[in-house]
């Protein structure tokens, strides 16, 4: 038994990119080599790849995303025909790729087993004979009578694996997604695959799971940009591959140290004198300059009087921003590294809040209901209540409804300006009161009038 690929090369043409030049330097480690020839761009997915597998060989294929692993498997399975080189084997090759491929989603599990058997060239009788063992291995039981589209990906994987190993399993190719099964079934798979040694199967497995590869495979190839970079015993190669991946990850993590000197963060006004409890907050402007920090961007957060920290802005290292009217003495601004959350600078609005409460001002409070007039014989309608009591000094307001029988019910509690819709209960005589939530003092009232017929 053998599976051989000799000097296999394969390239895809990219359409619709004429005249565009892409900078692929940044993604050098991903994907195949990009080339331009004539009017087209090409991706060389496989470049002069040769492998020679004999009975008992279980080959692990490792490499980054897009290094050519799946393409190689599909070439070995006969799905892609390479433009150069050739693939030969003396036994049928069966592959397990994407679970969405090679099944009929409307057909039942049993029916899919039948189709897979026919593809493998078995007769109906041979397939019928194999079904009990497949059914038992999948542990899917009554689900085999249901359409495949009702399966979870793990269940579909069970079926795919059982079928692939039951029919023409001499040479088996498996891509990544073996991880879809649960731990118990993964154990079963590994057991069956390691059992292949005795029965002299050939197995090619592409995966990112170093643990799985070490347990199942005995040889390995390392693909990079469509070429075989290294080959050898699986343990050595996976070690080296992992060591390199770790080194890359470390290199990416090392950063310029963040410096806190020279960073400025200013708020104006920076003092609020004579601020009384109940006064409305003020509008302000915050400026920052964190160019010396070495960061690309910064985050500004606000800590309110209650101590709660809220993100205010994520912006460039130099900038300014205006606030809405909520500046009060004691409000703190923090300038932070958006990645780590380190506080690089902070500033607090100075001043004290006198506990003596200022009287609420009612002059500029607006309060309205829409519709404000309607005929009395009409059914209740939906409406909207709008208010703006920001100048009153109340932090929180409350709106209550007085229904036609004179009963008062709280309707809304919240911000000193806004609007809210009602259900269909507006009718002439329904009234609303706008009150300071703290003292209960009525600031404004409005009611729906009866329209003159």
């Amino acid at each position: 038994m053998y599976l051989r690929a000799s000097n296999v090369s394969l390239q895809f043409r990219l359409d619709g990119h004429q005249g565009e030049s892409h900078d692929f330097a940044a993604s050098r480690r991903l994907g195949g080599v990009l080339q331009t020839g004539g009017r087209h761009h090409y991706v060389r997915a496989l470049d002069d790849v040769s492998i020679d597998l004999r009975h008992g060989d279980r080959l692990a294929v490792i490499g980054h995303n897009g290094s050519g692993k799946s393409t190689l498997l599909k070439v070995l399975a006969g799905i892609y025909r390479p433009q150069a080189g050739h693939v030969e084997s003396d036994r049928p090759v069966s592959g397990m790729f994407n679970i969405s491929l090679g099944f009929r989603s409307e057909a039942t599990g049993y029916r899919n087993i039948m189709l897979k058997g026919l593809i493998a060239g078995k007769t109906r009788a041979q397939i019928e004979a194999a079904i009990p063992e497949i059914a038992e291995f999948t542990e899917l039981g009554p689900y085999l009578d249901m359409p495949l589209r009702t399966y979870s990906s793990g269940m579909a994987m069970r079926l795919a694996f059982s079928v692939a190993t039951a029919f023409s399993s001499d040479i088996l190719l498996m891509d990544e997604w073996i991880g879809a099964g649960d731990a118990q079934f993964r154990e079963k798979i590994v057991k069956r695959m390691t059992g292949f040694v005795e029965s002299a199967h050939i197995l090619v497995l592409a995966s990112h799971s170093a643990q799985l590869l070490r347990r199942v495979a005995n040889r390995a190839i390392w693909l990079e940009a469509g070429r075989i970079r290294e080959e050898g015993p699986v343990d050595e190669l996976v070690d080296r591959y992992e060591a390199e991946a770790k080194a890359h990850a470390r290199a990416a993590r090392v950063r310029v140290p963040i410096r806190k000197e020279g960073i400025t963060l200013n708020i104006s006004p920076d003092r609020l004198d004579g601020f009384a409890h109940g006064d409305p907050g003020q509008v302000g402007e915050i400026r920052w300059d964190a160019r010396d920090s070495g960061l690309d961007s910064v985050e500004i957060s606000v800590v309110g009087l209650s101590g709660r920290e809220v993100k205010f802005k994520e912006a460039g290292v130099v900038g300014r921003a205006t606030t809405k009217p909520w500046l009060k003495p004691g409000v703190e601004f923090r300038l932070k590294d958006p990645d780590t959350g380190d506080v690089l600078a902070s500033t607090v609005v100075a001043g004290t809040i006198s506990t003596a409460r200022k009287p609420l001002r009612k002059d500029d409070v607006t309060f309205s209901v829409d519709p404000s007039t309607m005929p009395s014989n009409q059914q209740g309608v939906r409406g909207e209540v709008r208010w703006d009591a920001t100048t009153s000094g109340a932090d929180t307001i409350e709106i209550s409804v007085i229904n036609t029988s004179g009963r008062e019910v709280t309707f809304f509690r919240g911000s000193p300006s806004g609007s809210v819709s009602t259900q269909a209960w507006l009718k002439p005589g329904v009234g609303f009161r706008l009150k300071d939530a703290e003292s209960g003092e009525v600031l404004a009232s409005v009611s729906v009038a009866e329209a003159v017929a």
């Binding site: 000097n7 090369s9 394969l10 390239q11 895809f12 043409r13 990219l14 359409d15 080339q35 331009t36 020839g37 004539g38 009017r39 087209h40 090409y42 060389r44 470049d47 002069d48 399975a77 006969g78 799905i79 892609y80 025909r81 390479p82 433009q83 150069a84 080189g85 050739h86 090759v93 592959g95 790729f97 994407n98 969405s100 491929l101 090679g102 099944f103 009929r104 409307e106 057909a107 029916r111 039948m114 189709l115 026919l118 593809i119 060239g121 007769t123 109906r124």
Partner: protein, 285 residues
Amino acid sequence: MDVASGSDDDTGPVVGASRLTSGRRALSLALHEWTKSFRMWRLWIALGMEDLSDRYRRTMLGISWVVTSFAAFIFVYIEIFGHGSGVTLAEYGLYVTIGFGLWSFVSSSVSNGCSVYTSSRNWIMGESIPYPVFFLQTVFRDFVVFMMTLLVIAAALVWKKQVWSPTTLWAIPGVLAYLLPPLWLGAILAPLCTRYRDVMHAIQTAMRVLFFATPILWLPSQRSGLAFIAKYNVLTYFIEIVRAPLLENTFPANAWIVVLLVNAVGIVVGFATYAATRDRIVYWL
């Protein structure tokens, strides 16, 4: 996406400079695939049945919907347009039933032939199955539906005016001659429609026009202008080899010559197209 070693202007950075499949090699591979596919009859019959059961899943009438809808259409059509056709209602009824029944097979063969690769994408990308299996699956499935239509045609033969004669039986090889064109037509159209997705729409448009240039709803004796155009329409002869024996107990020798010639040319062109495009289909999908 496309494979680099394609037509002559595709002189990309071709690997190793070797054109993998020189013409002869491609032809022999294609021949091998076709013969292998015919032997895999269990598979394409199963896939075709799967298509049919998908289409009529959870219906009560199942595939007999084909009979029902075709019969209903014919009945209403004849009732509305049958009067004033110049011949008796029975004669016209049989004429339209046969013609329209045959046309519906032709029409579905063409449009399904276009989509052979696209609708089998799932298998082409996931399994190494010789592609002719998908053509055979399509033809098998469409022919099963066609046989339902033939039941309606058989029933319509009660309208037959002339007595039965042995010549009438020439209609049977006539029907069998319909098995071949979907295969080579699919082999020509499927790669085109896969590579250029506009082609499918263009073909559907053309088929609509062609329908009126084929003597199906009108009688050549009544519409001389259309009859002149229909003479240059191959489909006229395909209809003729079945309809003439049934209606007039005649053997249309000329029509048979045209049909056999068209099939012969079609098989050659279809096979060549298949061999030339086979390796690139997977990249076009």
